[in-house]
């Protein structure tokens, strides 16, 4: 889990990317140096060979054959100290002088440069040496091979290769370290922003994202974001004020209407008059209930409701006992005690009340169950009934305001119950899910536990 989260983090990506880019550029540079150096050494070696072959050719022209054979034989002595190999043959291919036997294996016409391995006995061991040689036609069918030991070149190649590997490893290491540092800087900034943003999303619109004071691109972006927040804050405050004063006003009106109706009821003389007045009073009560419901939802959604550490298990337990006497079948509860959440006691209680009330109302004469368990750092509340349930395609609408399910028109209710639960869930950063209990409905509310 943690590894997956790390790999998905920007630190990991920056670390790996930074390491790879550095290593790739290092490989490119070292490869360039290597190729250039190797070519330089090779060219120089070939030039030396050509010069020696040339000087021997001149010697051959200026002297007779025996003197030339002597010269070659002398140069061929102790080849492993002086590093040269020689072989001279005449037109018939007879060996005349030298310290290697290789020419017959090469094609007669072959001239120019060639490379081969020669076994060398040295002390007790036999080693193989790499030789690069030039074959020179001296005229009259004489062929001369002049070669150098190129073991050094290979040693150079090996050293070079080893350094390249080390350099890549070191670069990868430094690259990764640098990347980690860079990523960590970005990531810690992002985390600080993330934490603030979460609190803001939870409804604390007065909070601002932290600036690091450097005035860099991120800082500018954060500052812009803060401006945006200030604007949202102002709008929300204004809206809230409008809502509050409207609600206050409406309640005042309703109160006066109720007062007038009540006064009229005292004066009513006939049962018919009394009946109409009672109808009016009933409608006023329904209207004020709906207003009350909408305002509760607005309160929960504004995120301004004060939260405390509350014992969610106790709240659930109390409500089970509260509804127990009105349930057709005994309520079955399984509650893990002592689950503390950061929450609003009244709104949480009202939500559970709405859910239990719904279950008892829509699934009468069936067993209703309440289960509260802990899953890691989450308190999971399941309220399950064995009623008709809600068809999958209607579940998304069930939490909308004033939305009532088909077939519920005969039952009391304002269509605000589940909307309130949804709003309260958002206030508590909880997840509300309507699930199929086949048969029946299971409402699941998953609330993060308080940090204790």
């Amino acid at each position: 889990m943690q590894l997956v989260r790390f790999l998905r983090s920007s630190i990991a990506r920056v670390t790996v990317l930074h390491g790879l880019v550095l290593a790739a550029s290092m490989i490119a540079v070292l490869a360039g140096v290597y190729l250039a150096t190797a070519r330089l050494i090779a060219t120089e070696g070939d030039q030396l060979l050509s010069i020696e072959a040339q000087s021997l050719a001149e010697f051959f022209h200026d002297h007779d054959v025996d003197a030339f054979i002597g010269e070659v034989a002398e140069r061929a002595e102790d080849p492993w100290t002086r590093g040269g190999v020689y072989e001279l043959r005449n037109a018939n291919g007879d060996f005349l002088a030298g310290n290697v036997v290789i020419l017959p294996e090469l094609k007669p016409s072959n001239s120019g440069f060639t490379e081969f391995e020669v076994a060398v006995a040295r002390a007790d061991t036999e080693a193989s040496r790499s030789i690069r040689a030039r074959i020179q036609d001296l005229g009259q069918g004489y062929r001369l091979l002049v070669g150098h030991d190129v073991q050094d070149r290979q040693a150079f190649r090996t050293v070079m290769l080893r350094s390249v590997i080390w350099a890549i490893l070191v670069t990868l290491l430094f690259g990764a370290a640098g990347g980690w540092w860079l990523g960590h800087r970005i990531s810690s900034t992002a985390q600080a922003i993330n934490a603030s943003a979460a609190r803001i999303a939870a409804g604390n619109l007065t909070e601002r994202l932290p600036l690091n004071g450097s005035g860099d691109e991120i800082d500018t972006l954060v500052a812009r974001f803060n401006d945006l927040l200030a604007r949202v804050d102002t709008l929300t405050t204004t809206l809230r004020a409008v809502l509050d004063s409207t609600a206050h006003d409406l309640r005042g009106h309703l109160n006066r209407i109720r007062g007038a109706a009540q006064e009229a009821s005292l004066k009513a003389t006939t049962p018919e008059e009394q009946q109409s007045i009672q109808t009016v009073l009933g409608e006023i009560d329904r209207l004020s209930d709906t207003l009350q419901g909408l305002l509760r939802i607005a309160l929960a959604e504004s995120g301004t409701a004060p939260l405390d550490d509350v014992d969610f298990s106790q709240i659930a337990q109390d409500l089970v006992e509260f509804y127990q006497p009105v349930a057709d079948e005994p309520l079955v509860s399984e509650i893990t005690p002592g689950l503390i959440v950061r929450g609003h006691r009244q709104l949480l209680a009202q939500s559970i009340s709405n859910l239990l009330d719904n279950a008892l109302k829509y699934a009468p004469h069936t067993p209703v169950g309440l289960r509260l368990t802990r899953e890691g750092s989450i308190a999971v509340l399941d309220i399950t009934d064995r009623g008709p349930g809600i068809p999958a395609e209607q579940r998304a609408y069930a939490t909308m305001r004033f939305r009532r399910l088909p077939g519920s028109s005969g039952l009391p209710g304002s269509g605000l119950g589940l909307s309130l639960v949804a709003a309260v869930a958002r206030l508590h950063q909880a997840e509300l899910k309507l699930l199929d209990a086949s048969p029946g409905l299971r409402v699941r509310l998953s609330i993060p536990l308080a940090n204790t």
Binding site: A247, H248, G252, L254, R256, R258, G259, P306, E321
Partner: protein
């Protein structure tokens, strides 16, 4: 009883005053915070009815000032601001009860009654008694005619609440708030069912019934219906 009503909404004030006078109460009216505070300080009232938002002096401010000088007249705050947290503020400032508009006159009078009688009454006594029903709040013991009655914790709390308001009308909302501390309406008739269970426990085997339903208002525990 003698009531001071401080309410700036004149029409609402008129309706309420008429209603209360109809029930035999003496009502004085004030229409802003300043006059309200003066009247409350100089007159002697059994209970104060205060609107939460008033011109000149805010309702909460009046409560604070009254409590500040040691005046402990019972205060019921009326408000068109009805959120549980507003309510907490009102009670914290020193109010004794809080009722949201629009209210039922029955609800209001039941609460006024409870407030007025609480003063000097058996407010916090441990031993409560009505007819032959006795409740020992500390020992959590209930007996009727000397016979022990077993109740669940919640049933006991409900009975204790009714006993402390014996002879008065208690509304369903008062029971919800006082016994369960629920400040929302559970819609269904849950309270009625709890009451009838309690009635089973304390009244079933006796000829004199103590727990009565008051139609359109609530319940009352009394031996003199």
């Amino acid at each position: 009883m003698k009531i001071l009503l401080v309410e700036d909404d004149r029409r609402a004030s008129e309706y309420l005053t008429k209603g209360l006078r109809e029930l035999g109460h003496v009502v004085d009216q004030a229409f802003d915070g300043d006059t309200g505070l003066n009247a409350a300080m100089t007159g002697s009232y059994d209970v104060l009815l205060l609107d939460r938002m008033l011109p000149k002096l805010d309702g909460l401010e009046i409560v604070k000032r009254m409590r500040g000088v040691g005046n402990d007249v019972p205060i019921l705050i009326l408000s068109a601001l009805d959120e549980v947290d507003e309510r907490v503020q009102g009670l914290r400032a020193g109010g004794d009860d809080y009722l949201a508009k629009p209210y039922h006159l029955e609800e209001l009078t039941a609460r006024l009654d409870a407030l007025a009688r609480r003063k000097g009454a058996s407010g916090l006594a441990d031993k409560l008694k009505i007819a032959d029903l006795e409740v020992d709040a500390r020992a959590r013991r209930v007996t009727r005619a000397g016979r022990k009655i077993d109740l669940t914790t919640r049933e006991f709390q409900l009975l204790e609440f009714l006993m402390r308001h014996a002879g008065q009308i208690v509304t369903r909302t008062m029971i919800l708030e006082g016994v369960w501390d629920y400040h929302f309406d559970p819609k269904t008739n849950v309270i009625d069912v709890h009451i009838s269970r309690l009635r089973q426990a304390i009244d079933k085997d006796f000829t004199v019934q103590l727990l009565h339903t008051v139609r359109g208002a609530g319940y009352t525990l009394t031996d003199d219906p």
